[in-house]
Symmetry: D2
Amino acid sequence: MTSVGVLGATGAVGQRFIQLLDGHPEFELSVLTASPESAGKRYREAAKWRLDTPIPEDVAEVEVRDTDPDEIPDDTDLLFSALPSSVGERVEPALCEAGFVVSSNSSNDRAADDVPLVIPEVNADHLDLIDVQRDERGWDGALVKNPNCSTITMVPTLAALRQFGLERVHVSTLQAVSGAGYSGVTSMEIIDNAVPHIGGEEAKMETESRKLLGEFADSEVSWHDASVSASCNRIPTLDGHLENVFVETREEPTPEEVAEAFEDAPTLDLPSAPNQLVHVFEEPDRPQPRLDRMLGGGMAVAAGGIQETDTGIQYNCLAHNTIRGAAGASLLNGELLASEGWV
Amino acid sequence: MTSVGVLGATGAVGQRFIQLLDGHPEFELSVLTASPESAGKRYREAAKWRLDTPIPEDVAEVEVRDTDPDEIPDDTDLLFSALPSSVGERVEPALCEAGFVVSSNSSNDRAADDVPLVIPEVNADHLDLIDVQRDERGWDGALVKNPNCSTITMVPTLAALRQFGLERVHVSTLQAVSGAGYSGVTSMEIIDNAVPHIGGEEAKMETESRKLLGEFADSEVSWHDASVSASCNRIPTLDGHLENVFVETREEPTPEEVAEAFEDAPTLDLPSAPNQLVHVFEEPDRPQPRLDRMLGGGMAVAAGGIQETDTGIQYNCLAHNTIRGAAGASLLNGELLASEGWV
Amino acid sequence: MTSVGVLGATGAVGQRFIQLLDGHPEFELSVLTASPESAGKRYREAAKWRLDTPIPEDVAEVEVRDTDPDEIPDDTDLLFSALPSSVGERVEPALCEAGFVVSSNSSNDRAADDVPLVIPEVNADHLDLIDVQRDERGWDGALVKNPNCSTITMVPTLAALRQFGLERVHVSTLQAVSGAGYSGVTSMEIIDNAVPHIGGEEAKMETESRKLLGEFADSEVSWHDASVSASCNRIPTLDGHLENVFVETREEPTPEEVAEAFEDAPTLDLPSAPNQLVHVFEEPDRPQPRLDRMLGGGMAVAAGGIQETDTGIQYNCLAHNTIRGAAGASLLNGELLASEGWV
Amino acid sequence: MTSVGVLGATGAVGQRFIQLLDGHPEFELSVLTASPESAGKRYREAAKWRLDTPIPEDVAEVEVRDTDPDEIPDDTDLLFSALPSSVGERVEPALCEAGFVVSSNSSNDRAADDVPLVIPEVNADHLDLIDVQRDERGWDGALVKNPNCSTITMVPTLAALRQFGLERVHVSTLQAVSGAGYSGVTSMEIIDNAVPHIGGEEAKMETESRKLLGEFADSEVSWHDASVSASCNRIPTLDGHLENVFVETREEPTPEEVAEAFEDAPTLDLPSAPNQLVHVFEEPDRPQPRLDRMLGGGMAVAAGGIQETDTGIQYNCLAHNTIRGAAGASLLNGELLASEGWV
């Protein structure tokens, strides 16, 4: 078994890590960190557990450590990071310098030239950027990132459309409140309402998508030159981001060809990877967040409503934002790191 | 005072008509119709009143009539129609033939060549199509339509952008449940959920927008040649449609020029017309349905989040779907008909 | 394996039956019935499947039959009924007469003297009323009922308190929308709202509770003489009924004794019975519908907030209304019928 | 005009004060205070305005002061307090000592023997406790409190039932999220959920009700000896607390007599007092929060569902928790203070 730790284990994404690691066939959770106020407490007391499955019994009694490189035992093979980005940008490099491999969901450093931003089924080869990273930074460890939850929902479908010559993407998102963390959206803000703004989210979708879809060669990732414009909205939904995508491509695929491209999206043989990456619904009113977010254990992407427009194709896609879009994304990156020998 | 009636007075839009006509300075409500089961009852009993202001006392005791041309007194000057389209397409022409002027919110006949589809501040001149209509159909009355609620939310902003050479529009909607009528969306469908499909809505937005923005000359409306692609979603909001719009124009206006164009949108001197047609918010997280749907008594359009994209402009807009988007739209058309002497 | 059928298989409760029977260790689903419009269709087409697990593959292709005694194969051992009560009161007696054993969730006949109303962990002995029923009605089959969802949430806790001399119960319910069926509550009714009335529900809680808590002797059930007053409310929650209970007892148990009585509630060795019937939370803000409705696979009751009042005890309880409160309740009754040799 | 100030003007209740004071016939708002971070800013910048009517233009430009007695101009006649109780218990006595009359919504000191806790239509005579207060504390000013929002919803109905000999009250509340302030309840907590616990709320209902219903004589209030047991719940509703009340009385009034008692509840001739204190609905499914919270401009109480139980009467009541239950309550107390010559 690979010995793993979770940094920032008490928050919403941290709890998902705990839940997803419970019973994992390859990873054994041994280290939990949180902010100084939680350090020294049992996890049961430190975390206000809010998932609808119980805290795994063995984890409940683990003593939470301070999120400090000195607190992580040397024999921890892999660290998952659910740190706030302000903490991540300070602590993650220190951990990598100390020799740890970190699979991080935090938003810091995602755009850095030598930091692999990875969705395993889409651009596993970007992982080799770790060599560049180690060269440049003199690290023994490594830092690998997964993209933002709204980006991760759309990119597997865009990757499948690259074969048609992706040129222009307009996307509108209907994002769940859990994406802002447990206390990120107040009920007064969102009941009987929608908010057409999520700070920084549109820029993340526009840049991260192009990096993910880019080509890795000669020690660098050339970002894809498609243009991406995003409009991000928060709606009164708990989990699952739904996105309306309009795509213009050089070729003119039919909706059937698009559906086929989605269904043929490659999958990987990793414990948390879904059997089918993109599920295509024929019913025009699917996917829907509550009904479809748990497809593939929350790790699949659902698509539907594929139609021609005057200048391209439109469709809807959906993924579980705290599983495929956050903790599950880092976990899958960790599994990829392990299977490719980086851990 | 102009004597008016409401067809289909017991439903959700019908109730809004009653509410908006209460205390109207020019119109006096004298006739209410509904389906045969309601005919003969007092309005108080026939309607399951669901608005948060009380039923106007005088209306409550009016006897509801069957929706039948023979039941409408000859001296009724103007009829507002909130009929289901299947009833509207049968009854409305019969009423026009019998000499009545009908301002209708029903979706039937909106695309017909000789039926004016009107937003008074946008294309009041299309009303002259009534002459063509009377010629062709031999009617003494007239049939005038307002567009669909999702169309009406966006078109005032597009009209303001015509000066920059409107070429391509992508729009995603976040629509309130009241748009489907009182029983249109069940709670099991929509709580903690969103539905990326509203039957026929996308086509309505695409065609109605182009007719509204078209030019009326030589007895016909030439539809605007901009291309419009819409993706329509239902979300758990009671009232107020929010829309994300991406626009490509021949010229390249700055966000400031777009804001100015919105603020300069013309207004009319009609009782229900708002003082300012389009309100522009500088706060990036506005407009929001619950906070902004009642601007201008529910008759204004709110816009915000204006930004440049790689190829154009994006922004958000919002209007109250059962006021500006339905009953208020027909009412304003009625006021225009009266002020221009058609009634 | 026992061969079972589901009557009314396409509705919300019917779908739960299908879901719960999938992979059942003792029951094999072979017959599905629905209204005449669905008869002859594959289940996949007849049911608008709305649960968040997929339709079981083998069930999806089963042909739905008309809900007619002549359509049920003779070798069907046990029928579960999710019929509307108006259909149930007609069809269920006919089926029993034809020799079928029916475990029914429909509300008809629950108060009848010779119809066992059963929660297996509470009053399994009432099942012997079947002998009386057969005597009186001349049936070969049998009709067994489970109580209403709001009753079933509270009665396991009241049963545990009988030892202290139950005298007076006041209960207020906060009930989920699924209790009214898929289309029972519109979104316009319930978003940002609550409805302090559910037709007939209060009377059901008051009478069914007393029958369930009653004693079976000499061929009849003497209803418990506690007085029960209920106030029932619908709130914007999808699943899970939460109830505030105030109890007056002859003895004066401490909150600790009440908690102990709840935790000691008996359980049964049946496939769908939870290991622990009543879970007691110490956290004062639990149980909560979304977090706790799936305890024991949706078959447990959760309790919390136990406190002394001036004249007794107050506490909160919660159960999943379409599992423990409906389909799961009938299923458990079916398992009891099988284990006691009635099937 | 009476010159008034609002302490804690930027929060949710503070904003309601601003809204309700706009256009007030007797009070002129001249002073706004908030926490030190807001001091010195224009109100428009200091408050994140969240009501659905715009900030009154004249108030928007007022400079916010620190909540410090030295900052309040001497000629301010009356202060309304929306302070957090931890601030209120420090600042309010200092202000009263400095000679100001304070009408406070904060929960501190509500139970104090010499502090009048007042609902004007219920116990206006308790205001004379100010004489006792001044004697004991040596104040020139005065401190008057209104009760908690959940208490205020129920007490006008209980007051009307005193004539029948009030003995025992059980009440369950379904409370809106605004009662916890703008950020008090997160969306993750409450969407598709309910929380059966609001810290301290049950005790407030039990004690405040008895003080309000008590008799003032010989310089002290003798609390009413009815026993009150409350169970408080938070539900996904924005505004309006709905309550299920079970009452036992010495006499046995019929539901009709109860309805009559409610409708005969006295009203006062004060600017913010509703014409009818308690509205009685005959429809069994009313009152409902969204439909009925704005009755009497948000200052009325709605009641319905009046029925007999085995031992008494049950009914439902509802009031707007941030108007009648908070800012409007203090405002009405201020109007009473002014009309009785205390200001």
